[in-house]
């Protein structure tokens, strides 16, 4: 199934070099892939994933193990960020 992964700020380095300019990569995932499995696939340290959105909706840390991705999902992840 197709999905999109967006990694921002210091997490951009976990994207392939050619994808860093857009912070974004299109994926082909096995059906049933969970958020946590996706993070592991890209070797992103889970403790750096402070903010995770699927299709713009916040995913609580406790749900990352069980959250199964669907066709067309967009996953966006940030390290700890703030501003104003």
């Amino acid at each position: 199934m197709k999905a999109t992964l967006k990694l921002f700020a210091t997490l951009s380095k976990y994207l392939p070099a050619e994808a860093r300019k857009t912070s974004c990569i299109d994926l082909e995932l096995a059906t049933g892939t969970t958020l946590l499995e996706l993070i592991a696939q890209y070797r992103i340290p889970p403790d750096l994933c402070a903010l995770m959105l699927v299709n713009g909706v916040f995913i609580p840390p406790g749900d990352r193990v069980t959250r199964i991705l669907s066709e067309g999902d967009t996953v966006a992840i940030w390290p700890p960020v703030g501003g104003g």
Binding site: W78, V81, G83, G84
Partner: protein, 616 residues
């Protein structure tokens, strides 16, 4: 030094500078800076005063932690009645000016009257005098600061000044200190200009005046605070590396990034104007927009951006003076000058931001007003004949030209100078102003973040994001995660945030510390620094007192519950895309509860019981 216990009163009409003791009984109730200066303003002025008349007063105020080793202890605020809104105005700035004022031995400076001719105030420790500013009038903030330092042969003088916008009465003119830090919002620079006061120049050498109430406890509390800031992911890494600009992608992905005057809620060009983009090499010259970060006095975070533009960018091709390093865009400026206008060119935004710093303009109101004018243009209500240029959404040329004209007071810039409320009313479409009480809302869309909708509607200085910052719980999950679409629970959380923010703004520290510091972390530093009982309970009650004092001022100025609202677009036009597609701001579900938790009547007026409880 906590409080110096000295107030400098400057009567611009008579040209006199007088020292007087700080009212310590008020300091015990209002701490300093925002709270204490508000108390002075309320006591000394009529809330119905014309903001640009000599009868309005303007106060530069520090907090007890300003100029101390507390991390970020360099803040000062300008408190007055604002010309953009007609509400109380309180604009907070960093840099080094506030600490210098403290080192000169002053907690605050109260300006009253109007000088018959342009002057600037020079403070050298105990000595204060008004000097002729005829040679400075017509100069930018950057030129003014340089000229004053050269004239007095002292590069360590700190200067806060107005640019040409403040002189010209631009209703969102700010006061710029240290070249690119600003008391930016609500038009405090226009008040300064109306008083014929060009600048305040300060040199303070009283470093021995720093006397915390409990030096050992203070040293420990300050050190502990710095450890917390360094260890926290936001204040220790996120803000220094990407600045506030990291939020562009966060808020856009979250579906709450007002775009093209709020027609849209997500911007397709967000990535190109983001904090990430500032780090990347430009294809044109192979260099990144961002040079480095920067910090204000005593700050261990360092969120400031220092940028250098592409020298071949169309906006500065013939302007070598803008090719050096200067303050780059921060989140609100990038949003307003970019998403609100539909312009996705980082270099254009950087140039317009340089102009905002150079001549003292609030980039939020500037960008939002240009966005509103662009919508009027697209609707055919404004024409090229009237404005002097084509200005559809997305026109970088229009943003550049309108920013230049507003700074210099030329052409259609004189209309942009009114702010969006007056501009849209002038052309018969008042509903197209994305403002509350006359002040434009910043970079978060209330249709996506219900708590922010309530915050905009109830902020005492018109729409504002630093009077509570519900983005923290609604997006970032700090201190707890709240559903951004929920209306339940937003009123009490917002009240708590608003009251705590009033404490922070009255202490002399930066609001960004609260990404890491708890209320207790702040309380322990205030308690060790200041004489008296500064328990957490007392501080939060004080924050509530300040909020209600501001509200009472606005009510006396003529504002009512009907002003606690949002532009019709936010209330009736559903979000078109993103996770909040179909949503509008559900203010009606939150406002009654907000009045209730505040102890106000259904008409938004503090009850007698509330006023007694708060000692008002």
């Amino acid at each position: 030094m906590t409080w110096t216990k000295n107030v400098l009163r400057v009567n611009l009409t008579t040209g006199t500078c007088t020292a007087e003791p700080l009212k310590m009984e008020w300091a015990q109730q209002y701490l300093g800076q925002r709270g204490l200066a508000t108390k002075y303003l309320v006591a000394e002025t009529d809330p119905k005063v014309d903001p640009l008349s000599p009868e309005n007063k303007m106060i530069f105020a520090t907090g007890p932690l300003t100029g101390t080793p507390t991390a970020t202890g360099g803040r000062y605020s300008v408190i007055t009645k604002g010309p953009l809104t007609g509400t109380i105005a309180c604009s907070n700035s960093g840099g080094y000016f506030g600490a210098e004022l403290k080192f000169a031995g002053w907690d605050m400076v109260i300006f009253e009257g109007r000088s018959p001719k342009p002057v600037y105030l020079l403070i050298e420790d105990d000595q204060a005098k008004l000097l002729d500013a005829a040679h400075l009038w017509g100069k930018t903030c950057w030129e003014t600061e340089e000229t004053i330092k050269k004239h007095h042969q002292d590069p360590q003088i700190r200067v806060a000044s107005i640019g040409r916008t403040g002189e010209n009465g631009v209703l969102f003119a700010g006061i710029v200190n240290d070249l690119h830090r600003a008391a930016g919002r609500s038009g405090v620079g226009a008040v300064m200009g109306s008083k014929n006061l060009k600048a305040v120049a300060v040199r303070g050498t009283k470093t021995d005046a720093y006397r915390p109430a409990d030096p050992d406890a203070f040293a420990k509390a300050v050190a502990a605070g710095k450890v917390i800031l360094a260890a926290n992911g936001v204040t220790g890494q996120g803000l220094p590396t990407y600045g506030t600009q990291v939020l562009v992608n966060v808020i856009n992905e979250s579906g709450a990034f007002p775009t093209r005057n709020g027609r849209d809620i997500q911007f397709e060009g967000a990535r190109a104007i983001s904090g990430e983009a500032m780090h990347e090499k430009r294809p044109t010259d192979g260099k990144a927009n961002l040079l480095t970060n920067s910090a204000c006095f005593g700050c261990t975070i360092g969120c400031g951006r220092i940028s250098k533009m592409d020298p071949n960018h169309f906006s500065i091709k013939d302007k070598p003076q803008y090719r050096g390093a200067s303050a780059g865009v921060e989140y609100e400026a990038a949003w307003a000058l970019g998403a609100a206008t539909g312009v996705a060119d980082l270099e254009t935004l950087t140039y317009a931001n340089f102009l905002c710093n150079e001549d003292g303009m609030d980039p939020i109101t500037l960008g939002s007003t240009i966005g509103a004018a662009m919508e009027l243009y697209e609707l055919g209500i404004l024409t090229k004949e009237e404005t002097g240029l084509e200005m559809p959404f997305g026109s970088a040329e229009a943003v550049v030209k309108l920013a230049e004209w507003t700074a210099t007071g030329e052409g259609f810039g004189k209309v942009i100078a009114l702010g969006s409320k007056r501009l849209c009313a002038k052309y018969g479409r008042p509903e197209l102003s994305m403002s509350v009480k006359g002040q434009e809302f910043p970079a978060y869309d209330g249709r996506g973040l219900q708590g922010m909708a309530l915050e905009y509607a109830t902020s005492n200085r018109g729409a504002c994001h630093v009077r509570g910052y519900m983005v923290s719980p609604e997006v970032l999950g700090i201190p707890v995660k709240m559903d951004p679409e929920a209306t339940e629970g937003k009123a009490p959380m917002l009240k708590a945030f608003q009251d705590l923010t009033a404490v922070v703004d009255s202490a002399g520290i930066c609001l960004f510390t609260t990404f890491a510091w708890s209320a207790t972390d702040i309380q322990s530093q205030i308690q060790a620094a200041c004489v008296g009982d500064w328990s957490l309970e007392k501080l939060l009650l004080m924050g509530e007192r300040i909020w209600n004092l501001e509200r009472e001022y606005n009510n006396a100025a003529g504002f009512t519950a009907k002003d606690d609202t949002l532009p019709p677009r936010m209330l009736t036009e559903p979000a078109k895309t993103g996770p909040h597609k179909g949503k509008v701001a559900e203010l009606g579900k939150m406002l009654p509860e907000y009045y209730q938790v505040r102890g106000w009547t259904p008409e938004g007026v503090p009850t007698p019981e509330t006023l007694v409880r708060l000692g008002l």
